[in-house]
Symmetry: C2
Subunit: 372 residues, 2 copies
């Protein structure tokens, strides 16, 4: 057994995205203590940088010490209590995962289903909110990583607010890659991942909670079922002007990397990053269509950072992915759930969203499909 | 705001421990995908290396994608169901945290208390097991990081087995630093951390479950309350000979680092590492006692990797720690819980356990206390 030397890969799947050398260098800096005063100061910078990326002034904005799935669970276990009703929108795999979270809390999930590959329908959501007037929250995925579809988060959050429900928004794939306005849209709870459009390694989940959400947490009748994810405890470490209370040992080096990735995003400018993702997405669509491939999602709701491509009839989708990996060193994603075998997923996320990468993956598709 | 450049620190606290350059170099290798066939092969090596470190043949042995607190929660939420009774030993802060886990599941925690600074008393445990014949599990901390005390895990696990209870063992600080025999002692569920005696960065929690524990998970009447930590789902990604099912995005780079740290442990040899920790511990005791300092824990149960030192009367413990950090670049730990202000904690963990580091911290104490 030897030291692991990863192969040379271009990561154009649904995440992780390519991590730039600057972020890898930050990751490898010497580990210091999680209560070191200089580390605490860096944590404060991470919170400020996250607020910029989320476009929010929420005091409770921090990275959860685990991947995006734990960020999702943080939102649900802190805001929802046994017996609550939650309207859950499902137009892809991650809406189904939200349902799992609700059910395991002992709460009721009212499902609003739309076909995989279509956005959440606000009319159905409004009907569900009307039919369940005491619903505690409306939960939906802003950027469905499993299908490449954006939903209208602004409208959905407005509907939640009008009906007195908290909004819980999955922004795992949107943060840093396409417009996301946490304060502008009135999002109460949002979670994301480090390894998508931020291009840090996987393992952290940035989250942000509104004051309304914090009030709901403080008004709970029951303890949060997870000790590790209990925000009333996590806040004692991440917030406050004086000494921070030890809760769990923070993932020090991963936080160095996230700090650096967020600094790079600030240097580029958030809106410039959104525009870059959009331009490279259009270049990809053009290139793939020139090969005769079809992008099944309506152009009006396509995510620039995650592109669904229809597998042509008679083509072995897994064999194509394998050839892209083995012959071209390019990783793309398979379909998930009911779209398995029907689509490929090409991610142009964060540092991976460049014209050169677009040209490389289009050329590789041409080669593998014999359509060059 | 600039890139974060950590200060030069010698980490001799309760963890994180100093991460060797080889591990930092592994951490910074290019990120690849969590479903990449070469990454899956590396995961299999990590499992094998963890089995060696834990001294177990347990099939279900893997690192949880979050810090040790999440490893603790993984053990409890998978094995314990609402209404179960768990005997929880508390002789330090982490026994109290175990209780929190049990209570939040809706199970009953029967506490066996011993003073902070003393090991768990097997006679009290036996009495508790007799008094609660249907107890699902006995939970205790093998190496109490908050006090520097080792408990007799072999005897406690035997008692659990004799009374038909599963054993849940916190080995966060023991793994890699002092004898731990998961199979030899018949431990059913054990969890640890990456940042103690393995000297990888913080953020992962190695766990191992016996076949008896796995059978208990499979026989559950209720779903595991955490989706993220549900081992029946996590296993689909970490186990199996064929394709691995996506559950959550693994913390790729952190797993490179853990792989390298475990490889270094294998190269040294587990028993050689235990002997090194013991020798440097004895050197530290000698040096501190020569300065007139007292180590309050009974020598028979002292942990070599975590040394409690009594704060002398009239000495400002926080000022001493601050001087060690500012003047000598050495981080040590404060007392936790009821020992706050009463003890310092000096960790000699993993890569930090060297004669040179012992001499450096003893000399620094001499300087700061004016006893040089």
């Amino acid at each position: 057994m030897h030291s692991f030397m990863p192969p040379d890969r271009l990561l154009l799947g649904p995440g992780p995205s390519p991590v730039p050398p600057r972020v890898l260098a930050a990751l490898a800096r010497p580990t210091i203590g999680h209560l070191d005063p200089l580390f605490i100061a860096m944590m404060d910078e991470v919170k400020d940088l996250l607020r910029e990326a989320f476009r929010t002034g929420h005091a409770l904005t921090l990275p959860v010490s685990a991947p995006g799935s734990a960020g999702m669970e943080t939102a649900f276990v802190n805001l929802i209590e046994p017996g609550d009703t939650v309207i859950v929108c499902r137009n892809g795999v991650f809406g189904g995962r939200m349902r799992e979270n609700v059910v395991r809390i002992g709460a009721q999930a009212v499902m609003v289903d739309d076909p995989f590959g279509r956005p959440v329908d606000p009319d159905k959501v409004e009907a569900a909110l009307r039919a369940h007037p005491g619903a505690k929250a409306l939960a939906f995925v802003h950027a469905e990583t499993s299908t490449g579809v954006a939903s209208d988060a602004r409208t959905l959050c407005r509907l939640a607010r009008e009906h007195g429900a908290l909004s819980i928004v999955d922004a795992v794939t949107s943060l840093g890659g396409s417009p996301l306005e946490v304060d502008g849209w009135g999002i109460d709870a949002v979670y994301s991942g480090s390894q998508k459009c931020l291009s840090a390694p996987p393992g952290l989940s940035p989250v942000s909670f509104s004051d309304t959400a914090v009030a709901a947490i403080r008004a709970r009748r029951t303890p949060v079922q997870s000790w590790f994810l209990d925000l009333t405890l996590v806040m004692g470490y991440w917030q406050g002007s004086g000494a921070r209370a030890y809760h769990h040992t923070a993932p020090i080096n991963m936080l160095y990397a996230l700090h650096e990735a967020l600094l790079m995003l600030r240097e580029e400018g958030l809106e410039a990053a959104w525009a870059r993702h959009r331009a490279n997405h259009l270049r990809l669509c053009e290139g793939l269509e020139a090969l005769g491939l079809t992008l099944p999602v309506d152009p009006a709701v396509r995510l620039p950072q995650l592109n669904a491509v229809a597998v042509p009839d008679g083509v072995d989708e897994a064999a194509v992915r394998r050839s892209l990996l083995d012959r071209h060193g390019i990783e793309i994603g398979a379909g998930l759930g009911e779209l398995a075998g029907k689509i490929w997923r090409i991610g142009l996320m964060g540092h991976g969203s460049t014209p050169g990468n677009v040209d490389r993956v289009v050329a590789a598709f041409g080669d593998v499909l014999g359509r060059g």
